[in-house]
Symmetry: C2
Subunit: 390 residues, 2 copies
């Protein structure tokens, strides 16, 4: 049954192989001063920077550049962004990049509305968007499919000194006002990053799917998204320039985490919790930490959520139910997931990500345990899952 909820996603999406041609138009409703933020400068090699600056010029904007957003944006970088917004009276933050860059832009957009220290006043939670502070509008040009940051209110900022990585999910007022989604912009993403992104998308869907025993439309939408992603991923790993595959992956990524498929139902998110703890210990690529623990994790909770795992086998992997017990079917579904992880080249063992035996207790202790799963794990069980994932 669909529980009570509010759905509101005002982000305007321009999708397609010519999507950037809409950028000048998309910029129009906003003021003149734009903060252009991006990562390590790969956009200067693949032509995306040129497309974006041409659109900014055509729209008559004055631009302040803030490059160097790192994969896990830090509080120092956040403070730098807040300073740039205030000193330049910025009207719009335009993020060009993947999830980290867009997450970062949202963090700056919120923190810039408060006086004083960005981390203290914002991330720790004293201030919040509901306080009435002005939130700077954010626009996005997406260059990597995976996080879904282009159409949600999520933002993750790291405080290295405090060893904290804090994720916030803001409301519609912080979601990008628009996003340019050109699947060709993702062609130059390194193969391993593409694969990690694909698994991140799959994991976002499964985290919302594997919880609850009711019948609701959200789970059927999730099954559709997973089927599309699985088909497209197989084509994309063979030929990363398969536009059909990359466009479906990009679109699936957006809908995997823009709140739709989680509406009205309980959710899990334990794979992300374990994966993030691994990331804190190893600096391994996020998507790979998720693929590395998924099979062992799902085998551990399968018993408690058997009908859903059997359904996953039938409806996502097309495994015939005939002649199989529910348990056999459920197991076959998790096996199919594991086989697919191997086929697309995502990590199947966390030892390959730099996890060593002596880290397991620490990773388990660093794992935040969520309430929504079929089975609430003990620390000892997390250690077991990690060991089975080695």
């Amino acid at each position: 049954m669909l529980g009570n909820f509010i759905y509101s996603n005002p982000t305007k999406l321009y999708f397609g192989d010519q999507a950037q041609k809409n950028l000048a138009e998309a910029l129009k409703p906003f003021g003149k001063r734009v903060l252009l933020t991006y990562g390590g400068g790969s956009i200067k090699k693949n032509g995306i920077y040129d497309d974006v600056t041409a659109a900014l010029k055509a729209a008559g904007k004055s631009v302040v550049e803030l490059p160097g957003v790192m994969p896990n944006p830090t509080v120092e970088k956040l403070t730098e962004g807040v300073k740039a917004v205030r000193e330049n009276g910025i009207d719009l933050i335009l993020a060009v990049g993947g999830g980290s860059t867009i997450d970062y832009a949202k963090g700056v957009a919120v923190a810039a509305g408060y006086d004083g220290d960005a981390w203290e006043h914002f991330w720790v939670g004293q201030a919040n968007p509901e306080s009435g502070a002005k939130i700077i509008p954010v626009g996005a040009v997406l260059t990597m499919a995976g996080t879904g940051s282009e159409m949600n209110g999520g933002s993750v900022i790291t405080n290295p000194a405090q060893k904290l990585k804090i994720g916030k999910v803001f409301g519609e007022e912080v979601m990008p006002k628009f996003a340019i989604l050109n699947p060709r912009y993702t062609f130059s993403v390194p193969h391993r990053q593409m694969v990690a992104g694909i698994y991140d998308i799959m994991s976002h869907i499964m985290e919302q799917y594997f919880s609850g025993t009711d019948d609701n439309t959200s789970d059927y939408l999730s099954e559709g998204l997973m089927r599309s992603l699985i088909t497209a991923s197989r084509a994309a790993v063979l030929n990363p320039e398969d536009y059909q595959a990359r466009s479906n992956i990009m679109w699936a990524a957006t809908w995997a985490l823009n709140t739709l498929i989680g509406k009205g139902k309980s959710q899990d998110w334990m794979v992300h919790m374990i994966g993030q703890a691994i990331g804190a210990y190893t600096d391994a690529t996020h998507g790979m930490t998720l693929s590395g623990v998924s099979v062992a994790y799902y085998r551990h909770i399968m018993e408690a959520g058997m009908p859903k795992f059997a359904r996953f086998a039938r409806n996502v992997w097309d495994i015939p139910a005939e002649g199989k017990s529910e348990r056999e079917l459920a197991e076959a579904g998790i096996e199919a997931l594991g086989a697919w992880i191997g086929q697309i080249g995502a990590a199947t063992e966390i030892s390959s990500l730099g996890v060593t035996e002596d880290m397991l207790e620490g990773i388990a202790s660093a794992t935040f345990i969520m309430p929504g799963s079929y089975k609430k794990l003990s620390r000892a069980e997390i250690v077991d899952i990690l060991r089975e994932s080695m």
Copy 2:
């Protein structure tokens, strides 16, 4: 492959069995003067009118009532609404009802921005929303699931004198600003209307699904929505007060026609075109005209879109492919659709809707032929389809 497109659906949805408790809050951002429009007054019997007026009072609004919106809103009614908006300086139109009432509110919202005759200046197309005229914001309280009007820009108005029924699809500026979706509000819909609504939803999905030969995420989402709707419909016809079923039907209806599942792909819409022509001749319930012709229509175009019909059988109806030719599989899918139409009690024969043999040529001539289908029909083929549907 996903073609190029823009996606933007700013409607804020409040969903659930207490959704109306958000109405006062949803009304806040708008001005004081509200035009409250609704249909024949059933909302006064089932308590919905009381809920709505209490919220309007709590929000401090002054209200002008405009009841009597008919199932096919006429241009005379449109003119009455435009007059009411202008004379009362209306800030928001609040539509309480099903698709007709919300369609009507959108028509008034657009037409009120122009001087002179509503039909001439608006529906005929001389004026349009891009002209810069002010569009009055619309809010909706949905009482019937089916049309999807609560989250799209569609509006249909009839001009009886000119024998014209014109549908327009406006952009995001005309979409409702918010909609209250309480599945319990649909419990009192008469059984036959509920069934017609269910088939209308299914048809919306199939009209977008049965076109194109590419692989795209939109079709996978459609399959998910159809599976959810089929499951929920079987429960709802047995027990119309099954909240789980009615909530899934309501949510599926919204996503069946809010543009998402048609993004980046060609579409068909021939069943609607034939159904509307039948409606013009018989005044039969819209959803029933669609169910009445679907099986014969899909049998006629199956040959030209065989792989998609086989996929429909496998992925929507769970028909095993093993041991079947593609044609046998495709035929089995259409057969399953036909069986389901009978199970839920939707019309299986258009003769039951008042269509007589002497009308067939006229209905075929009145049918607008769309280009997007697997097969462009001739008038003679439409007559054949109608005859087979008798």
